[in-house]
Amino acid sequence: MLHKLNVVAHKYAKEFIPKRYKEIAQDIKLVDDAGHGYDRFGAHKDWVAFSIALNSFLYEKYFRTQSFGVENIPLDGPVILTPNHGGTLPLDGMMLHQDVIRKTGRLPRPIADFFVPKMPLVSMVYSRVGVVSGARGNVNHLLKNGEALVIFPEGLPGISKTYKDRYQLRHWRPGHIELAKKHKAAIVPVAIVGPDDQMPLLAKIESFKTLGAPYLPIPLTPFPLPVKYRIFYGEPVYPHLELGAVSSHFDSVEGLAKFLKAKVQGMIDKGLHERQGVFK
């Protein structure tokens, strides 16, 4: 069955996907392709093209995604994008994934929590479009290869925020800063305005852990609302230059994490202040 799905996806990618999406995906560079089209983590260009085509309705029409400051993303070399996370379903990650591919031609590798690879189908589809499980070894490997990563420093507590806590950032984990320093990677702070309004979370049942899911969300709406997405890319920060330099304001990784969190919170607040409404 999976193979059929695979074959259908390939066929769809090759024959029915609009040329412009195929061209975007074909320009992406995959490392470690041994002639089968897959990289070591399972990403495949045809699947990326398939995901671009499939999500184009959500990206262009439903969420009417707009982005600002995309020039802040380096076009090559290791980079970590660190956005806020919210919205019950990880649609913010999907829209960011779309936006980065379309605007820069780079395949961003979203780093997923450990429960994601446990989920049947989700784990397979995610890995084909570039998602990687969040083990430190994987992140190290990707940065070493000069790839673009998307790490949600809030993690699961971010996406599982209830509606009353929307756009209030959770603890900003600093692990990615250490890795960025080690690999001389840039960190681009990203603020996404919109997702926290798309599917207001009322409560969650923590004891429900079926099929690898960490909890059962109880949202106000059964499907995401057509809110407007705005993605703001901040100026890149280079931890290997910031940490340890004489003129640096940051004496520790935690200090830099606090700074980046405040920067993202500031960008979110600005975005919220400037927007005309949730749907506009």
Binding site: L2, D39, R40, G42, F114, L121, S123, R136
Partner: protein
């Protein structure tokens, strides 16, 4: 000049390795054949002896024989490839490894090369997909004897490293999709019906017999001890492996796969046990091979021969 004792040399990997060694006219090979086995290679520097590795006395006799007086290397490839349980298999898989390394120390053999298995590595959602030599080993009690024997043999040699005068080199290789090479994925493909866990399609790495033989050859003269991961050129999902091998497969919800696998074993497909691959068939694992590249100069060059594999697995 090398004088090399090779065990398990009747497999495709073993034969390729022997051919590589014998290209050097100064090298001699003593090929230990299990009773009933034969090897097609003929060469003036190749001597074939019949040896039951499970009988320690017979093994010791080899070391005291005239041919083995100046033994410089041991390449230990012999492992029971079947999934069947039993004391005899344990003796071949584990005890023979132990006795060979002890004899190598006693008779001052310089190098001991052991072909180990990537399956011994733990696989889980919280562990890296890219596996290095320091990756956790699967020490759980859930694995079958096939797995436990391989972990034990590997660890016996790891425990000797650095304390013994013998230079021990352990090559943990990816699955080698050729008959007789002990690959569980090959046994999986050789089953009448291939069942995979529904909703998962892990990335796996397979190594060609040529590359594996070449890595063993490179390890012969490596001057230090070491554990090396030996990946192949092909990084490929399980579903594509089935497809390229011409095997149909059925995706079954994971909780009932173990039971189905047991039924299959009763039915006659005895060489594959899903128990050993419960996590690997969900999360996958790919060997990094960076150390082998840096230290041994190993770089995979040959992809698997999928057409031959297809013909081999589907003779009709």
């Amino acid at each position: 000049m090398r004088n090399i004792l090779v065990t398990g040399g009747t497999t495709k990997v073993g034969e390729l390795l022997i051919q590589l060694i014998l290209k050097d006219p100064e090298s001699k090979v003593i090929l230990a054949l299990e009773p009933g086995d034969d090897c097609s290679i003929q060469h003036r520097n190749l001597r074939k002896i019949s040896l039951d590795l499970t009988k320690e006395r017979q093994v010791k006799k080899v070391f005291t024989s005239q041919d083995a007086q100046d033994l410089t290397h041991i390449v230990h490839l012999a492992m029971h490839r079947g999934e069947s349980k039993g004391f005899k298999h344990h003796r071949l898989n584990v005890d023979s490894t132990r006795s060979l390394i002890i004899l190598a120390e006693e008779y001052q053999v310089s190098h001991f090369i052991f072909r180990s298995w990537a399956e011994i590595y733990e696989s889980h959602s919280f562990l890296p997909t890219i596996v290095t030599e320091s990756h956790p080993i699967d020490l759980s009690s859930q694995g079958s004897q096939w797995l436990k024997d391989r972990v034990e043999a590997d660890q016996i040699l790891c425990a000797k490293m650095g304390l013994s005068k013998v230079k021990i080199k352990i090559l943990r290789s990816s699955d080698c999709l050729a008959s007789g090479c002990g690959s569980q994925i090959y046994s999986f493909l050789d089953s009448r019906l291939c069942f995979t866990p529904f909703g998962y399609d892990p990335m796996l790495n397979v190594v060609s017999p040529e590359d594996l033989a070449h890595s063993l050859f490179l390890a012969l003269d490596y001057p230090n001890n070491g554990v090396f991961d030996i990946p192949g050129l092909d990084n490929i999902p399980l579903s594509e492996i089935c497809y390229k091998a011409g095997k149909g497969y059925l995706a079954i919800p994971e909780p009932i796969l173990g039971a189905l696998s047991s039924v299959q074993r009763l039915w006659g497909d005895k060489n594959f046990d899903y128990k050993n691959h419960r996590k690997r068939f969900k999360y996958g694992a790919i060997l990094s091979g960076e150390r082998a590249r840096k230290e041994l100069g190993y770089q995979p060059k040959h992809g698997s021969d999928w057409n031959s594999l297809k013909k081999e697995l589907n003779p009709r």
